[in-house]
């Protein structure tokens, strides 16, 4: 059966443990003189990105290459999509070339599920609309885990534009599954219309929350997705919800400062704050590669359970 990674909800706690254990192994591979292993030799991984991306696409490509898989990159601007080719036709065309995994990013929620129905390859959700971004949540969880030991019992504040954020949705799912307590901090206009079923607390007062958290996770103000004025002005947003230098100075040394990038310096996070020792934003990016190697290896490299007559070789 083909395995996919479409949503954090599909993963059990055991799956998460296995992925983190694989990631540990690939972090070690990354430190080697030759940071590359032949685990996925002869496999082909395609990135199918209908939306702009720097880190996710490059990180997946690096991950695939370090596993010795072949990579193909599809970018909308130079492809037949410009001639009006549908997603389905594009997927079937790529599929006909013989591939093993597709990383999909699309502005509409649910597209990776559609692709999984049209394709026999493993599909990885690289971000779909406002809905989900599971590999980001995995690398965020892994980063927190390396600093705090585990997520269990820790308090994480996710601050900012929750409404438009697929990162927030996947992070909430992953963090709470791993036992963390999550508080969303945002003005009412930047929260989703309904939070029913979300296992989170909500606050509109960042200063009150900062005193009791272990992680401050700042989200980007997604101006390209905002079709109406949801905050009076960016300056006013920063006064209420930005991690300014003064706010950062109040945080304990153990409190992690995180951001999924790309950052709007001076809006949700002050420029100087990113240089603090407890700001782990570049570490998040660095962990993206081994986490995505783990995902690719987990999807493509682990075969079906078989009777194993080779005891103790």
């Amino acid at each position: 059966m083909t395995r996919h990674l479409l949503s954090i909800d599909d993963l059990s706690l055991d799956d998460l443990d296995e992925l983190f254990r694989l990631t540990d192994g690939f972090v070690e591979v990354g430190r080697r003189r030759i940071p590359k292993v032949p685990a996925l030799k002869g496999r082909t991984v395609v990135s199918l990105f209908y939306e702009d991306s720097t880190r996710t696409r490059l990180s997946f490509e690096t991950a695939a290459k370090r596993l010795t898989a072949d990579t193909m990159t599809f970018s909308v601007s130079t492809s037949s999509v410009k001639k009006g080719e549908s997603v389905r036709d594009t997927v079937e065309t790529i599929e006909a070339m013989g591939i093993d995994a597709i990383v999909v990013r699309h502005a509409s929620a649910g597209v990776p599920w559609q692709v999984a129905q049209w394709s026999s390859a493993s599909v990885i959700n690289g971000g779909d609309g406002w809905h989900g971004h599971p590999t980001q949540a995995l690398l965020d969880s892994y980063t927190i885990r390396t600093h705090l030991g585990s997520l269990e019992g820790h308090h994480i504040a996710i601050v900012g534009d929750i409404k438009h954020s697929r990162v927030a949705r996947s992070d909430v799912a992953a963090f709470t599954k791993l036992g963390a307590r999550v508080t969303l901090v945002a003005p009412g206009t930047l929260l989703p219309p309904s939070l029913e079923g979300w296992p989170v607390e909500v606050s509109h007062d960042l200063d009150a929350v900062l005193d009791e958290v272990d992680v401050v996770y700042l989200l980007r103000m997604q101006q390209e997705r905002m079709t109406e004025a949801l905050v009076p002005s960016l300056e006013e947003y920063t006064v209420g919800y930005g991690l300014t230098r003064d706010r950062a100075a109040r945080l304990g040394d153990h409190v992690l400062i995180m951001h999924p990038g790309p950052m709007n310096r001076g809006v949700e996070i002050a420029a100087e704050v990113t240089d603090l020792p407890n700001a782990v934003i570049l570490e998040q990016v660095a962990n993206g590669v081994p986490v995505r190697m783990a995902v690719l290896f987990w999807l493509l490299g682990v075969g079906p359970p078989a009777v194993d007559p080779e005891g103790g070789e």
Binding site: R21, G25, E28, I34, V37, A39, G303, A306, G311, E313
Partner: protein, 154 residues
């Protein structure tokens, strides 16, 4: 076996031991202790997991058992790979591939506690604790108390 290793290499200078996960790791530590006792000098010990180098990836579940840890430079050293049981030779083949990603050892030697036969590749050990003829479907376990031979439950 420790004496054999010293004799063959005329001492332990430039020698390093690498245990294969998981069975070879405690053995490599034991060898290192024995060599230090005989020769008096410390030598570097590492561990290696070959999961990402196996040729049966996709055929059966292959997950790393533990993280590889080689905290020294291999280039110019003689590396003794240590494993508990030598069977088809495929693990050793994978280990040789893995080693080249860490550096260029001057020579690689192989020490195993048990050679149970049934090789599928042209690989032979340099130091053997015991030759143990087996059937293919038998299971060999090497523990601190000795070697245990069992039947596969099917």
């Amino acid at each position: 076996m420790a004496h054999e290793i010293i004799e063959r290499n005329q001492g332990v200078d430039d020698l390093a031991l690498i245990g294969l996960q998981t069975g070879g790791v405690p053995l490599a530590d034991q060898f290192a202790d024995a060599l230090t006792q005989i020769d008096g000098s410390d030598l570097p010990v590492g561990s290696l997991d070959v999961a990402f180098y196996r040729d049966d990836i996709g055929l059966r579940p292959v997950l790393p058992e533990a993280v590889t840890d080689i905290p020294f430079d291999l280039t110019g050293r003689t590396v003794v790979l240590v494993d508990d049981v030598l069977f088809t030779g495929r693990t050793i083949r994978a280990a040789l591939d893995a080693l080249t990603d860490y550096g260029r050892p001057r020579a690689v030697q192989l020490a195993v506690m048990v050679d149970r036969g049934h090789r599928e590749l042209p690989i032979r050990p340099d130091y053997v604790g015991k030759n143990l003829p087996t059937r293919r479907d038998e299971v060999v376990n090497v523990g601190p108390d000795g070697v245990d031979l069992g039947e596969t439950v099917k």
